[in-house]
Symmetry: C2
Subunit: 368 residues, 2 copies
């Protein structure tokens, strides 16, 4: 028998409470698995290689009675999230031993797939209209990189963050050469892709983040102007270096208000995240003063999640992005955290933007 450690979702944090290791997220080493004899029931057994903590996981921790764009986690069940796994045994057509897969998986060392533990039995009528069944983002076979690039690129450039940035830049920002784009949280997995895709369109890119190391990282990705919002005020910086034609928002609050003030007539805004307000109780949220400018400047604003834009832009993503990565025109920096025992803390750090280092956290569970 082999140890099969996992991360358990033990308790829901209160709205706007930051989840804590040992209280909401528990590392559980009690389980074992027989890798040769576990019944596959027509499925396949995977070994987890890489797990990707992402800001959207916080939304799945909320109480299911609060409407939002995604289904929730089940208390007592395992954490689910994006990862790269390798197939050990398979009884299912289309999946064979040695295949690499990327998609939603259980945060544990070994899993019989398609996973059942923690999965929501999705009945649309039990959820607010428009709620997305996150478990539908099933594992997909991805090419073996054969050493050309690390597997972690499947969780960044070629994974959900890269796809999010790509479809939003194509479908909402639609940047033109010479225009100016402002990206908040530009050192995040999504933000760092947005900076580079903006530069590839010939845009001038302004980017913000919360540490000097991240500012340096954003410059290295091509940002023309990068600033630390803890030192430079959003409004003043954009007033001095704007105007902007488009805004990619991962933060909300003050960044959005400053962008409303700095954007030109008929500007476009892609609203991809609200990390600035998610961690605060509603009465401490920054309250927007510039919303009246939406009309005065004929601004278009669109909140979105990836599935909204997948039908139009998914095939273009696979056509364009791997080639750009191969040519070195799209880069990403991952900070590797060794061991699944550190996954709970990696989630907490990602949600709190607590780490000041540049580069997205990824958890390396096994080296194959």
């Amino acid at each position: 028998m082999t140890s099969n450690p996992r991360v358990i979702f033990a308790q829901r944090p209160a709205p706007h409470e930051a989840p804590k290791v040992g209280k909401h997220l528990i590392f559980d080493e009690s389980r074992t698995i027989d890798l040769e004899r576990v019944p596959l029931n027509g499925g396949y057994l995977t070994k987890t290689l890489i797990l990707s903590p992402e800001p959207a996981m916080r939304e799945r921790m909320r109480d299911p009675s609060i409407p939002s764009y995604t289904t929730t986690y089940t208390v007592g069940g395992p954490i689910l999230g994006f990862g790269v796994v390798v197939v050990l045994h398979s009884e299912k057509d289309g999946f064979k031993a040695g295949d690499y897969l990327y998609g939603l998986t259980v945060w544990e060392a070994y899993t019989v797939q398609p996973y059942v533990d923690g999965r929501v039995n999705f009945k649309p009528e039990e959820w607010a209209p428009g709620t997305f069944d996150m478990d539908s983002l099933a594992l997909q076979v991805v090419p073996n990189p054969n050493g050309l690039y690390p597997l972690s690129k499947y969780t960044s450039i070629m994974g959900t963050p890269g796809l999010t940035a790509f479809v939003g830049m194509e479908g909402i920002i639609d940047g033109k050469e010479g225009e100016t784009l402002f990206v908040s949280s530009g050192a995040s997995a999504v933000g760092s892709m947005v900076i580079q895709l903006g530069k590839l369109k010939g845009m001038k890119v302004i980017a913000s983040a919360g540490s000097d190391a991240k500012v340096e990282y954003m410059r290295s990705l091509g940002a023309d102007l990068a600033f630390n919002y803890k030192k430079d005020n959003y409004t003043q910086f954009l007033q001095e270096h704007g105007p902007i034609n488009a805004f990619w928002d991962n933060v909300g609050g003050e960044a959005l208000d400053a962008a409303l003030a700095a954007i030109t007539s008929h500007g476009r805004m892609a609203i991809c995240g609200t990390s600035g307000t998610d961690v605060l109780p509603p009465n401490e949220h920054y309250r927007l003063k510039n919303a009246y400018l939406i009309m005065k400047k004929c601004i278009s604003i669109r909140g979105f999640i990836v599935p909204d834009l997948i039908p139009q832009y998914m095939s273009k993503f696979f056509e364009v992005v791997p080639a750009l990565m191969a040519q070195g025109k799209l880069q990403s920096r991952e900070t590797e955290i060794e061991g699944i025992e550190n996954a709970p803390q990696a989630i907490v750090d990602t949600l709190a933007s607590g780490h000041e280092k540049a580069g997205t956290l990824v958890v390396v569970v096994a080296k194959e």
Copy 2:
């Protein structure tokens, strides 16, 4: 010689100051005109019949150094705005005596057209990018109603308010049968059209306004639920009677915040006016607390002015709207103010929503 009274823009109100009669807007009776001998210089002489005070006129009173969607008025020049005029003499092809015209004109009794007084010599490079040259909305010949409908319909259903509502409903709201639409300021010229166009699409319509007479008027136009926001709180009313799928905003501030809370996933918002904040200094603006829901609910928000959507929907407007009016399926109520001497007060009342009566104010300058 015939008296040619006019309304003069004497002074710019401070930002967010309500304009006042006698200070910012002055009625001037000092001028005369020789209706038979005035030189036409290849143009044509018009007699003003109806003038339409509209909320957007406030934006033209601002200091031109403040960027916005429209060019400004010239201090000391006449007020310009939408009106219906009739041609008395013409030297210009396409315009003959007896023709009725609708469009932008000088707020005076008689005008040699195309007007020069008060017109901005528009050089795009002197204005913020995207500023619209309002004077380009030149007078157009409209059919003689021959008694079938009053001329004032050219300033309401068949004029800019009707066109605004029509193109925004087609291009942004795109309502489906069974959906719920919320309209703020639903008794305004634009709002009253939105209610009716929503009902024609099979939508359930919720509408708000600031007096009981207006609530009654909105119900008479077909609104399923109408409320007086001075008695019923926006948030509570929508919480009780929502959710909504779409929002048409003429007001901003609290109405917009309540709509963000009440709208469903992937809801659409057309932002057409900000009458709730225009009259207040920025430090008294209502500050939005629900902006973070733009992302959580994947909401699309679009601020717009009519010229943005004219290319796609103008011809459909002329195809559809006059016929709907003739069939009695689109109605409007105008409150007629007699005499151009009352035009300054009519502008002030329209901007302040000071009149509690249902129906849009129109100034009847002459009965032909």
